[in-house]
Amino acid sequence: MQRIGVFVCWCGSNIAGTVDVQAVSDALQNEPGVVFSTNYQYMCSQAGQDIIKNAIAEHKLTGIVVCSCSPRMHEATFRKTAAAAGLNPYMVEIANIREQCSWVHKDMPTGTEKAIILGKAAVAKVNLNAPLKPGESPVTKRALVIGGGIAGIQTALDIAEAGFPVDIVEKKPTIGGKMAQLDKTFPTLDCAACILTPKMVDVAQNENIRIFSYSEVEEVGGFVGNFDVKIRKKARFVNEDICTGCGICTEKCPQKKVPNEFNLGMDNRRAIYIPFAQAVPKVATIDADYCTMLKTGKCGVCSKVCTAGAIDYTQKDEIIEEKYGAIVAATGFNPISMDKFDEYAYNQSKDVITSLEFERLTNAAGPSAGKLVRPSDGKHPHTIVFVQCVGSRCAACAEKGKEYCSKICCMYTAKHAMLTRDKYPDTDVYVFYIDVRTPGKAFDEFYRRAVEEYGVHYIKGMVGKVSPEGDKLMVQASDLLANKQLHIEADLVVLAAAIEPDKSARPLATQLTASMDTNDFFTEAHPKLRPVESPTAGVFLSGTCQGPKDIPETVSQASAAAAKVIGLLAKDKLTGNPCVAGSDELMCNGCSSCERVCPYGAITYVDKEFRMPDRTTRVRRVASVNEAVCQGCGACTVACPSGAMDLKGFATKQIIAEVDAICR
């Protein structure tokens, strides 16, 4: 049996004006477990707190009920008071008789009666309270960043700057991501490579950063502060430590017909390659799908020309195991496939291209060395049609497009149109749009400049059809403002394809037990207040894996995620919320219902041996809650049919006791 002390606060006249505080403390005196009951003008004052402390000592109290203002106001205060007097702070319960009683009721007798009932409910609960101790777990002071695009790069640099070691896992042979493929960046039009490649070099040179390129996350275990990660370092058949990146092998390799993915297949590379000149790490990689030596055992040219002796045809995948305190997902995006958009003739004409392909076409390091030419015949295009929202805002068919707005297309299309007109004033440039969405610093000004200074024809309406006729592309579109149907003879059509999360994100989310939305974007812990954290503790989100973003936004989110990681790694120990779920193993059925509703992936299953009454042992599958990860929502407690799962601080028994006290 508890020894409970009840402390009724007057809150000056705030409570005492509507509630007979003496009657409340008298009535609660007779409740089961209550050994002391009093009232005072200001319980939260030093004098009031001293009353509580003295009573704890004098009456050997094991539990405390304070009838006062909302627990949101002073629960923390009274818990500290109790702790100072040697009582477990979770033995304190507050009956809210101010905000939820004296302030909303006017009549003294009924107000007093309600205050007594609220007090009784709190006493009933404290009778069943148990001392709680927050769990502690150590923190491994190392972070893992998955994805080496601008988001991952920025996050890693910021974390490393704060003095913590960081590993970047990038599945491609080089870091850099999509930004490395871009030509110029809006709204300032500086070249992407000029601002990105120095950062890539910083990453390579930073002592706190390790890059695992051509690698993928294989397995994730553990929890916040203590993740165990297995990384698969794919065989690149080149010894990274020896390769100097001189590139001779990539010139001598006889296998010349490999589609160059860096240029989106618009030209070819060799079977041994370095994706681009500024690649980091700048080492060659052998594409096993095309290498004649690896396929037939005959060739070995690269090995012969390599003066460093870096080629190793026997190299195998390597598994690296490492511990991390925090993990950042920065898996990025890809443009969606245009295969389902027959109306735009993407698969019929080489001269219908996506915007990312346009970036490569205009990039000085691209397949045409920066000269804007038609991919089909290498001729200079005179009429270019840009189509926006291709596959974005497409709610009709999930297989075809995406319901969301891809956010970046309006701006990059304006950029493409502007740059084209700037470099080739003899071209006619049309942009078909549904809405032009340009919120952002200096964004709308940028778009207006494309129209006003560069003479880009912006037409409200969509393109209905593109049909190749001879070497021209007939574009049929509507001009909604002029209420006309247009027929434009174009030389080049550029589709602003919607963007979608990289395909690796879904399996990664499963490994991380991080949640995703229906579009496979990572879900944030709170859409407004915790936008860079995943609901899974210790997992953070950087860049477009969380939602469509442009570069400035990606970089700010990347730094924000880094700040969160640094905040976590700076701690020596993590103190948890003690009000967490716990499973009674004797009653658990192992049915997985709780695991399925847990938003944090805090529940796992273990096979455990139980001794039966007849002295035999039996192995059963039972739920186990990771207290460091559980946030204490209680969803599992209701999903559990056997009642094995309960929530500390809000136990089924406690809540039922409150219900009973109120309905008594």
């Binding site: 658990c588 192992g590 049915c591």
Partner: protein, 332 residues
């Protein structure tokens, strides 16, 4: 009349026992009366040959027995599963309740089981023998001459509205597999929904007040497989072993149905075993019907590993207030 004969099952059981595939067989044997067929565990060929029965009274769903049975030894147990039993079988697998490797499941076709209450109503009391002949059951009683009743007329309610003749899980199938049936199993629920609140209350008051809290419905239910039921657990605050007031049985039945909501395969065992003939399946079916209409068609057990509707959500789900309106036509 069942399409698969007792002899076929006996032969199959003996074969699997003799070739060492299994070392135990879950089957049926006669109880005190001929219609009182009870589940039994056989371990020898002799026992099977002498005691194993299969007829129109073999309604028991063996899925639940597998939980205990598979824990006993490392070897396999043979279980015969009617189509509706296979759904429970899958559902238990979804919930990791037994080790699939330790079971050899033989699917058997089912033409629907007879309801002894209906048989008695048709043929009178004092039944001494029941024989299946073609489409009829020939019933001998102490008092009268033998009487033939059509099997179709004495089918159990759950078989009249059978939802599926298709086996969704098995290692081996005897006879041919059937199809999922578009049954009208929700008709009775709809009838209740069309009543007024007062009429519904009167209906359920009448039904549930007969409950004697024998717990048979819970004990037979293949979804009620908790290691310890909340109603048996003194720590749960709702422990209650017997009816003690006008609400207790409602609390029990609502919570029981809620605990199996989204997991209940509608096998109908609860109503079959109720000694008071309370139509408990109408509670479960209400949940199933609501789930189908609120969240899209879902058949528990149709697919092992599927996500039950109550541990799932969409951001566009129906609001509870609208759900109540949608759930009962008199509210419209």
């Amino acid at each position: 009349m069942q399409k698969v004969t007792c002899d076929t099952l006996v032969a199959k059981a003996c074969e699997l026992l003799e070739n060492g595939t299994v070392d135990r067989v879950l089957g049926w044997k006669n109880g005190e009366f001929v219609y009182d067929v009870t589940p039994a565990l056989f371990t020898t060929v002799d026992d099977i040959k002498s005691e194993f029965v299969f007829n129109d009274f073999c309604g028991a769903n063996f899925s639940k027995y597998l939980i205990e049975e598979t824990r006993k030894t490392e070897s396999k147990v043979l279980v015969f599963l009617k189509p509706c039993d296979t759904y429970s079988f899958n559902q238990l697998l979804t919930e990791h309740r037994f080790d699939r490797e330790k079971v050899y499941a033989v699917g058997i076709p089912c033409e629907g089981m007879a309801d002894i209450t209906k048989v008695k109503a048709a043929a009178g009391d004092g039944i001494t023998a029941i024989k299946a002949e073609g489409e009829n059951l020939v019933i001998s009683t102490l008092y009268d001459d033998d009487k033939a009743v059509a099997c179709a007329d004495v089918l159990a309610e759950r078989c009249v509205v059978c939802k599926s003749k298709k086996h969704v899980a098995y290692d081996e199938l005897l006879g041919e597999d059937g199809d999922v049936i578009d049954s009208n199993r929700f008709d009775e629920v709809e009838k209740l929904e069309a009543m007024t609140e007062d009429e519904r209350f009167a209906f359920w008051q009448n039904e549930l007040s007969r409950c004697i809290r024998c717990n048979a419905c819970r004990d037979v239910c293949p979804a009620c497989t908790c290691e310890k039921c909340v109603f048996d657990n003194p720590e749960s605050s709702v422990v209650n072993k017997a009816i003690s007031d006008s609400f207790e049985e409602k609390m029990f039945h609502i919570i029981r149905a809620f605990h199996v909501a989204g997991r209940c395969t509608d096998c109908g065992e609860c109503s079959r075993v109720c000694p008071q003939n309370i139509p408990l399946h109408l509670l479960n079916r209400k949940f199933i019907k609501d789930i189908n209409s609120f969240y899209g068609e879902y058949q528990a057990g149709a697919e092992a590993g599927s996500r039950a509707p109550l541990v799932d959500y969409t951001t566009e789900d129906i609001e509870p207030t609208d759900a109540v309106l949608k759930g009962a036509s008199d509210n419209a």
